[in-house]
Amino acid sequence: MSALRRSSELGLILCRTCGRTHAVSALPPDQRCSRCGTQVVRRIRHSHETTLAWLLTGMILYIPANVLPVMHTSSLLGDADSTILDGILGFWRAGDWDIALLIFIASVAVPLTKFIAIGLLLYTTRAGSHWQLRERAKLYRVVEFIGYWSMLDVIVVALTSTLMQFAVLGTAEPRIGIAFFCAVVVITMLAALSFDPRLIWDVEP
């Protein structure tokens, strides 16, 4: 087994936009990729700071996203505002535990996992930790993959409101909580995209 060499040791650098390998010495002074024109950087600039900023913004907005109602329903039985959690409990009580579980995963488990995972990645890379390198690399890829499924509840609320706007039996309308929730999904995705996974490995000689 040959030793694993890093690109910097061999004077190489990767353009992460188009995937071309460059010799560092052959890059023009403005460091732009000769193929796609993007600036080639060894690490995403200010990755820690940007990721932390997005992460904190996402966490703050997650509070109104859960506290404020996402939907308003009115029927012969009366009017009601419901939050994301109310929606999940509604499915649960109605016996649709599988749908309750699905929305719980998409709207609660995924965002919380992302907060914890990104926070952990930021903390450990900042501290120069050697702990569980491969597992943390995997954690990053999981965060990247699961991120956008959280949009599920936004879509469910939108479709419910579309179909139930003129219904005689009852109507449903979206409420401001769903806008906060949508913002959380986008912002946590931005947090994951601004984190540079190569930082995890920078502690290795």
């Binding site: 991120g147 419910t160 769903i178």
Partner: protein, 199 residues
């Protein structure tokens, strides 16, 4: 072949040719480095045409509809976006419009553009910009999430009102499959057009 560098940990590898089904994994971090891309530019173009047709159907024919007291209400992606237009709730409308309508539409259009020229072996105008944009848009396309959301909405509403799954839903399901197959194209091979004279 130039050496291969892992996107996730910067480890350098000598390129090897891969057989169908092969995936090259990074020995250091476990990320996927390369794989055998099963979809050629020609079949990619065919898939992009299919995606365009399915996208059109999914947006022109209702995905879901309900009928209460003889009044039918229909839903598709654009109606779902429009239902969130009030005041600050339109932040959600914007997010939904981008991720389930505009970005998938842009992806399909740009893929048609690039793949048509790749098949003809000519470098298209604004090639770099289109390729870079395609790369940037990729994480933000949420067609499959919309499909799952529509299925959840069916179950949610089925106990209240008679709900019908429209042809649009099937088109949306087909679109999800076709877009996933398009993900098996190899954009790095299209880049070879960059060295060709523009047309």
């Amino acid at each position: 072949m130039p050496p291969l560098i892992c996107r996730d940990c910067d480890t350098v590898y000598r390129s090897v040719s891969l057989r169908p089904g092969d995936v090259a994994l990074c020995r250091r971090c476990g990320a996927s480095l390369a794989r055998h891309y099963g979809v050629t530019a020609e079949s990619g173009l065919a898939l992009a045409v299919a995606a365009a047709i399915l996208f059109a159907i999914a947006n022109l024919v209702p995905i879901l509809s309900i009928r209460v007291a003889g009044v039918e209400t229909q839903a598709n992606i654009w109606y779902a976006v429009r239902s969130m237009q009030e005041g600050w709730i339109s932040v959600a409308a914007l997010g939904l419009a981008l991720t389930t309508f505009l970005i998938p539409l842009a992806q399909i259009t740009l893929l048609l553009w690039v793949l048509t020229f790749v098949t003809l072996s000519h470098r298209p105008p604004v090639f770099r910009q289109v390729m870079t944009l395609l790369h940037r848009l990729r994480p933000w396309s949420m067609t499959e999430v919309f499909l799952l959301g529509a299925l959840v909405a069916v179950i949610k509403l089925a106990s209240w009102v008679p709900i019908t799954v429209g042809t649009g839903m099937w088109a949306l399901a087909g679109l999800t499959v076709v877009l996933a197959s398009l993900g098996r194209c190899d954009p790095s091979s299209w880049w070879s057009l960059e060295s060709k004279a523009p047309r």
